[in-house]
């Protein structure tokens, strides 16, 4: 056995698995091992061919006999009480089987935020309510034999509204005398919740002597920033199919990131035992946080319970954009105190967030705005102030980055501006203040998930390497000589970023693994592949531990009847949390394989000690060169000796939350005559630990950048004066297309995270943090104007340019 094989064998064999304590504390070497056989490689993704053939079945890709089509009547008013609903004419439409509204469904306060129990979001929603709170809020729904009949019936529901004053400006939401959006007695939230002032969540965190540190600073800079709504734009709309199976149980097939949370929340909402519900997550056409919401499955489920018939609800694109969830718009005020030498003393962040009509994720997204940004640079003292307020506008929720993208717009714009004021190079200024390996995160405890969080220490941290490699890739030295003459000017900007890996002390994932007679394995995970590649990545982790090719794994995921629990696909947790549960299950299976091999060899009259056995290439090997294949071992344990099923399971929760780090770089061209900004080049250097599937890690990075270049430059919600969304189609909500994308380069920087499976930490959300501030910094370099508001439309750039020419702005 050569060294590489030995190392791989050691990693997988029974003597090597790490103790629980080691996983939980993330202790261990930071060296990157070589000799991996299945991880840190990019095999074909397990579902890719199926999807490219068009054979992937998404929620709506199932034909059900007798299915009822559900259509929703949405509120035309931003804020109104429902005085009466008359469904007489609607019920007369041929084919109509069921009409639901607030008068005939249970009234259960809940949150649509698909979070763990107990959810840290306010319980301020109902299946239907006697009040509507934004244009696009639920009023009623109709189930009919055809989609057309349902749509006609919806148009015949007569509703009398008592229209109320509406709040569209978050700054006005908590003012004296403002109309109360949630005046229902049931609405409750965590400390800080004050529905009488339209405050869905609030925080105040002080770390260190904040005022003292600002008083000692040589320079204090304070700036305000504004970031807009953003739509997830999953190409697959929210969809749910429901039916009763032969045991009269409710089956819910839904486009969700959180099948287990969906089951738990549905049981409460519908008033039926949880054990009577099975939630199935089929293939998912993108989530990005939008499908972390338990948004629509309650309606077809209620229809099915009422009628006994299958039901189907699929949102249209306009409904998706208007009535699903969005990224929280924020107004941010960032204040930093620095010394002349560039040392940061204190940072203060004040966020006013618009959570829209309901408070889904209002506390935790905003808490992450601070949690992902404030710890990135060392400081003696920190302050975080936050209010998330209700308005009569579309509802915000979870969205890739989860508050980070908003916060980094402020922090990383601020860092560039500070460097300029101090006469320092922006890269050097960051390098001297950015955290490094072995340092503690001083804010981890204060900024937990709705409660105190566990303490955190940064272990793997290759941010300096990210900066080095990103600068080399974009050739940062060109920055000084980029053309500034003429109306079209060029500039370069950069940012440093960090994120998290799962919710420490909260998120749990689990896996079950069993051996078949041909040496293949069934891997059952609750984890939810929404296009992230997690089915493949978890199979690779199992394959590495088992020392088999990844093709030997048959993955089945996300079915509440047939897979073990998982928190769901959010918080950058699947690889880091569920991945370790898979590793634990596989390590257990390896131990059982070694035991069974010892039994077999004894029965063959060729006994050998268990010590020294190792697994490699789908077989148990002993030091004298003899081996037994997994297929032979399985046959023996099924039919001959010590008969049992070789099978194990693993669960994982950790108090560790190692941040991935990244440095982003962009080169832009600004046309001062039109205000147009063209992104020419974009480089992302990311430290995500050992990437399990490097091509997928690149794909996550490139996709996150594509999504967020739209956030930076082109995506915006526009409303009519009554609060109706006007940009409710892909034609009016402009994403970056293949033609808009710049030349894009991803660098996966070498790093090893001891708390992660085979050295991995997360990669899916951190790319979303970068494009906003990176583009703002590049524009500032190009035209010498600091824009502090997204999206950076040509109108804003042109206006700022004209003001600068007139000497009115700096």
């Amino acid at each position: 056995m050569n060294d590489v094989q030995k190392k791989a064998g050691d990693l997988a064999c029974a003597g090597a698995p790490r103790s629980e304590d080691e996983w939980d504390t993330g202790q261990g070497s930071l060296d990157v091992p070589d000799g991996y056989t299945a991880v840190n490689k990019s095999p074909r993704r397990l579902d890719a061919l199926k999807l490219a053939l068009g054979k992937g079945t998404y929620a709506d890709d199932l034909e059900l006999d007798g299915v009822l089509f559900v259509k929703v009547l949405w509120s035309p008013h931003a804020h109104a009480r429902i005085v009466s609903i008359d469904t007489t004419e609607a019920e007369k439409v041929p084919g109509v089987r069921c009409v639901l509204h607030h008068g005939n469904v249970p009234r259960v306060a809940y949150t649509t935020a698909g979070q763990g129990h107990p959810e840290p979001s306010p319980y301020d929603s109902f299946m239907f309510d006697a009040k509507v709170r934004f244009v696009g809020d639920r009023v009623a729904c109709v189930a009919a034999d055809s989609e057309r009949a349902a749509a006609i019936a919806v148009s015949k529901i007569k509703v009398e509204y008592d229209v109320l004053p509406a709040i569209f400006d978050p700054r006005a939401a908590f003012a004296e005398g403002a109309v109360q959006i949630h005046d229902e007695p049931e609405a409750v939230g965590l400390p800080g919740y004050d529905k009488t002032r339209n405050i869905a969540a609030a925080m105040h965190v002080d770390h260190g002597d904040v005022d003292g540190a600002f008083a000692r600073a040589d320079l204090v800079l304070e700036r305000e920033y504004s970031v807009p709504y953003q739509a997830h734009c999953c190409l697959e709309p929210h969809s749910a199919l429901t039916w009763l199976d032969e045991d009269n149980r409710l089956v819910v097939r839904v486009a969700t990131q959180v099948p287990f949370h969906s089951r738990r929340i549905l049981a409460r909402l519908l008033g039926i035992p949880l054990q009577r519900i099975r939630v199935i997550k089929p293939r998912i056409g993108g989530g990005f946080g939008g499908k972390q919401e338990v948004l629509l499955e309650d309606l077809p489920a209620m229809v099915t319970l009422r009628t006994g018939r299958p039901a189907r609800l699929v949102l249209t694109r306009a409904e998706e954009l208007t009535s699903s969830r969005t990224r929280h718009p924020q107004l941010l005020r960032w204040k930093t105190g620095v010394m002349r030498d560039g040392r940061i003393l204190a940072q203060e962040l004040d966020v006013l967030a618009n959570t829209g009509a309901y408070g889904a994720h209002a506390l935790t997204v905003q808490s992450c705005t601070a949690g992902k940004t404030l710890p990135l640079y060392r400081a003696e003292a920190h302050r975080f102030l936050m209010k998330a307020v209700y308005t009569n506008l579309p509802v915000a929720g979870a969205f890739r980055g989860y508050g980070g993208p908003q916060g980094f717009v402020a922090l990383e714009s601020h860092m560039d501006e500070l460097a300029g004021l101090l006469g320092l190079d922006p890269v050097q200024f960051r390098r001297m203040n950015v955290v490094g390996p072995g340092e503690d995160n001083p804010l981890a405890q204060a900024l937990g998930e709705g409660k105190e969080g566990p303490p955190q220490r940064f272990r793997s941290c290759a941010i300096q390497d990210c900066i080095d490699q990103g600068m080399a890739a974009i050739d940062w030295s060109r920055r000084a000589t980029l053309p500034k003459e003429g109306p079209i000017k060029r500039g370069m900007g950069m940012t440093c970023l960090m994120h998290g890996s799962g919710i420490p002390g909260v998120d749990m994932g689990s896996a079950r693994l069993k051996l078949n007679e041909d040496g293949s394995f069934n891997l059952h995970v609750g984890a939810t592949d929404i296009g992230t590649g997690s089915d493949t990545i978890l199979a690779q982790i199992a394959a590495e531990a088992l020392q088999v090719p990844v093709e030997k794994l048959i993955v089945y995921s996300s079915d509440t009847d047939h897979t073990p629990f998982d928190k769901g696909a959010y918080a950058s947790s699947t690889t880091f949390i569920t991945g370790v549960s898979v590793k634990k299950a596989a390590d257990g299976v390896v131990r059982q394989l070694l035991d069974a091999a010892v039994v077999m060899w004894a029965h063959h009259g060729d006994p050998c000690p268990r010590e020294g056995l190792f697994v490699k290439a789908g077989a148990v090997h002993r030091p004298d060169g003899k081996s037994l294949g997994y297929d032979a071992i399985c046959l023996s344990t099924f039919y001959s000796h010590d008969q049992h099923q070789i099978m194990d399971h693993g669960s994982h929760m950790t108090f560790e939350c190692p941040p991935p780090f990244a440095a982003h770089f962009a080169e832009v061209e600004v046309d001062t005559e039109t205000g147009g900004v063209k992104v020419l080049r974009y480089v992302a250097a990311v430290d995500c630990g050992v990437p399990i599937h490097p091509k997928s890690a690149e794909g996550q990075t490139e996709g996150g950048i594509g999504q967020m270049l739209g956030y930076a430059l082109s995506e915006d919600f526009t409303f009519d004066p009554g609060g109706k969304l006007l940009s409710d189609s892909f034609r009016h909500y402009k994403q970056f297309s293949a033609l808009d994308m710049p030349e894009l380069q991803t660098i996966l920087v070498k790093s090893f995270e001891p708390a992660g499976p085979f050295g991995a930490k997360s990669v899916s959300e951190i790319p979303a943090d970068g494009p906003g501030p990176t583009i703002l910094n590049a524009i500032a370099d190009a035209i010498g104007i600091r824009i502090r508001e997204l999206p950076i439309t040509p109108e804003k750039v042109r206006k700022a340019w004209l003001e600068k020419q007139a000497g009115g702005a700096k």
Binding site: S42, R44, R45, D47, A48, L49, K50, L51, A52, L53, G54, K55, G56, T57, Y58, D60, D61, E63, R148, H232, C233, C234, L235, E236, P237, R283, I284, G285, G286, F288, V314, T316, R317, I530, G531, T532, G533, K695, S696, E698, G699, T701, E702, G703, G704, I705, G706, Q707, S729, F730, R731, Q735, F736, S737, A738, L739, M741, L744
Partner: protein, 173 residues
């Protein structure tokens, strides 16, 4: 009403309502690889070839397709015989959630039949009507260029436009 058309090389005679769009009728007849993303022609998820030309099937009345040849993603390749374009998407890791992929594969097929050696710019123009929220479009562009190279090497397409696949599609209906 009844429509008669050629679908993936086989004759089909289907019932539909006069107002129904082709997307709905194809899906109702089991061609579920035709995805619904916007129903306004803005996303390309429902793209099919109509007499060899890419069309968003959500903007075509089913009745308009009567008498024509339709190729859906199901007609492009199968597990036993995937098309080089489909394999290129798989091998480039250009398939993430996969919801846009059938439409992109259809668009690529139409493009490469017309332009066997497209420039990167032409590939981007082709995919611009296919928003993809997962990939940032980098790997899909790479996949199309790789598929073009594979097909040229196999002589399946050439600059003369002599393309047996396209000819099959054109000959039906």
């Amino acid at each position: 009403m009844k429509i008669e058309l050629e679908v993936n090389g086989a004759r089909a005679c289907w019932e539909c309502e006069p107002h129904e769009m082709l997307t709905e009728v194809l899906r109702r007849n089991g061609l579920l690889g035709v995805k619904r993303g916007c129903e306004s022609g803005d996303c390309g998820a429902c793209s099919v070839l109509l007499d060899g030309e890419e069309v968003p099937s959500c903007l075509v009345l089913a009745a308009q397709a009567s008498g024509h040849a339709i190729t859906t993603i199901e007609g492009v390749g199968d597990f036993d015989d995937p098309h080089a374009i489909q394999l290129a998407f798989v091998d480039a890791t250009a398939v993430q959630c996969g919801y846009c992929t059938p439409g992109m594969v259809i668009a690529t097929k139409a493009l490469l039949e017309e332009r066997p050696s497209p420039s990167e710019r032409e590939v981007r123009e082709c995919l611009a009507g296919h928003p993809c929220r997962c990939t940032g479009h980098k790997k899909p562009v790479e996949a199309v260029l790789a598929a073009a190279a594979t097909l040229r090497a196999r002589g399946v397409v050439s600059d003369s436009g002599d393309d047996p696949i396209a000819d099959t599609a054109r000959s039906v209906g």
